[in-house]
């Protein structure tokens, strides 16, 4: 049990840097498309690790099921809203950033 608990903690610790880098990307990237990319990519993987870690530490099976459900819902909601925001930005004719 202690082994699983520690493994869970490690997973959560792996997940946190993804959130941090996603936030830095949101603050530092040049335009809306790159920021969306940073947010969704990083948060999805980060949340995946955090959920995995919490699932390993969970004491009951139904908690694990609920955590998985939350992860799936966040995945669906965040990717769909990312798509919608990007599409709205494209329709407003916001040009994607390029280095030149």
């Amino acid at each position: 049990m202690a082994f699983l608990h520690n493994l869970g903690t490690i997973c959560i610790l792996i997940g946190i840097p993804f959130f941090v880098s996603g936030t830095i990307g949101l603050l530092r990237f040049p335009d809306i498309y790159t920021r969306l990319h940073a947010l969704t990519k990083a948060d999805n993987v980060g949340l995946g690790f955090v959920v995995l870690g919490l699932a390993l530490q969970a004491e009951q099976w139904n908690t694990v099921a609920r955590l998985l459900l939350i992860w799936l819902l966040v995945l669906v909601a965040s990717s769909a809203s990312c798509h919608l925001v990007a599409r709205a930005a494209l329709r407003k004719k916001i040009q994607p950033w390029s280095r030149s």
């Binding site: 819902l73 669906v76 909601a77 769909a80 798509h83 919608l84 599409r87």
Partner: protein
């Protein structure tokens, strides 16, 4: 672990007023709305930390989610107005003022500041005096509620207080929401999105996937409310969110709901609540004094009905006007027919 949570609590306590200040001081309305939503989400975290999951759920769903959606739709309407009436843009006005030569700028009046300061201190003094004068309650209410739980008909203390011990307050709250919807409906008709504006494949799939799930969750929240965190307001808010999603996706079915059905759904909760309150009197108790043995069933019935009504009410507030009558709907499609009818009446 407790230390880490303490640091988290302190950060939360610092960030909340800062966010509140930022949102009030922001000249950009869109930014203010986004800040308001994040304030609501952090506030619900604060409620979780205060061991009040019921309030946290309501705050996240109604405070952050639905109120945020209401603000955003109001903002969109404002922007339509803005082309003709630019008065609303405070930031722009201030900028204009700064470009003026110094002698033309508005002077700040010291008298006004002194008066404002004076009124504020009088208000604070009165408030402080009222606080000091209020007698301290002889005992804490928590143990009193815990002692009476046996006759409440439910296991959750929050639900027991909301629907049984202080049912009168909740009845009035439900009425307030109903009145709000009535107010909006009497002001304007809902703005119709053109039928050909279909949602993209992603939004359509999302709606198809989420709406059934949201309705299930709403039912679950109402059901679980008798023993744990949840209840009519939380369930209703989730229902309303499903409604907002349907409205956003411009689903045909929503437009075809007969307005009679909407009206009944709006009235169902308040009416049933009121009827059961009066029924309690006819049985022999006081207003809202449910019979002891069946109190749980009464509460569940009232909660289910109010959840439906709260959901419809909040979604109707988001839609922002009363629905079109079927006849009026056809009239919009065929405007020439409408004028012909009017001319006929005139003759």
């Amino acid at each position: 672990m407790t230390d880490a949570m303490g640091i988290f609590d302190i950060m939360l306590a610092l960030v909340l007023p800062w966010l509140g200040w930022r949102l009030l001081a922001s000249p950009n309305l869109f930014r203010a709305v986004v800040l308001f939503i994040s304030l609501g989400l952090l506030m619900s975290l604060a409620w979780v930390r205060l061991h009040a999951p019921d309030v946290a759920l309501a705050e996240a769903a109604i405070g952050a989610g639905l109120t945020g959606a209401l603000f955003l739709s109001a903002l969109r309407r404002l922007e339509r107005l803005r082309d003709s009436e630019r008065r609303l843009d405070y930031a722009e006005k201030r900028e204009e003022e700064q470009n003026l030569p110094p002698e033309k700028r508005r002077k700040s009046k010291p008298v006004a500041y002194v008066l404002a300061l004076f009124l504020l201190s009088v208000f604070l003094l009165l408030l402080g005096g009222a606080l000091l004068k209020t007698p301290v309650a002889p005992g804490r209410l928590g143990p009193a509620v815990a002692g009476q739980m046996g006759q409440s008909g439910v296991q959750s203390r929050v639900t027991a207080v909301l629907l049984n011990f202080r049912g009168y307050d909740t009845l009035l709250e439900v009425m307030v929401l109903f009145l709000a919807a009535l107010g909006v409906w009497s002001l304007t008709r809902v703005r119709q999105t053109p039928q050909e504006k279909v949602p993209g494949p992603v939004l359509a799939t999302l709606v198809r996937l989420l709406v059934p799930l949201m309705i299930t969750v709403a039912g679950y929240l109402v059901w679980i409310g008798s023993s744990r965190a949840g209840g009519a307001f939380q369930g209703g808010a989730v229902l309303a969110a499903a409604g907002v999603l349907l409205l956003l996706a411009n689903v045909t079915v929503v437009r075809q709901i007969p307005s009679t059905l909407l009206r009944w759904a709006l009235v169902l909760g308040p009416l049933l609540f009121l009827l059961s309150a009066v029924a309690c009197m006819s049985i022999g108790g006081n207003l809202l004094e449910y019979p002891r043995q069946s109190a749980g069933s009464w509460i569940l019935l009232i909660e289910s009905a109010t959840a439906v009504s709260i959901g419809v009410t909040l979604a109707a507030l988001y839609a922002g006007g009363r629905p079109h009558e079927p006849a009026a709907r056809e009239a919009i499609v065929d405007k020439s027919a409408d004028t012909k009818v009017k001319n006929g009446e005139g003759a």
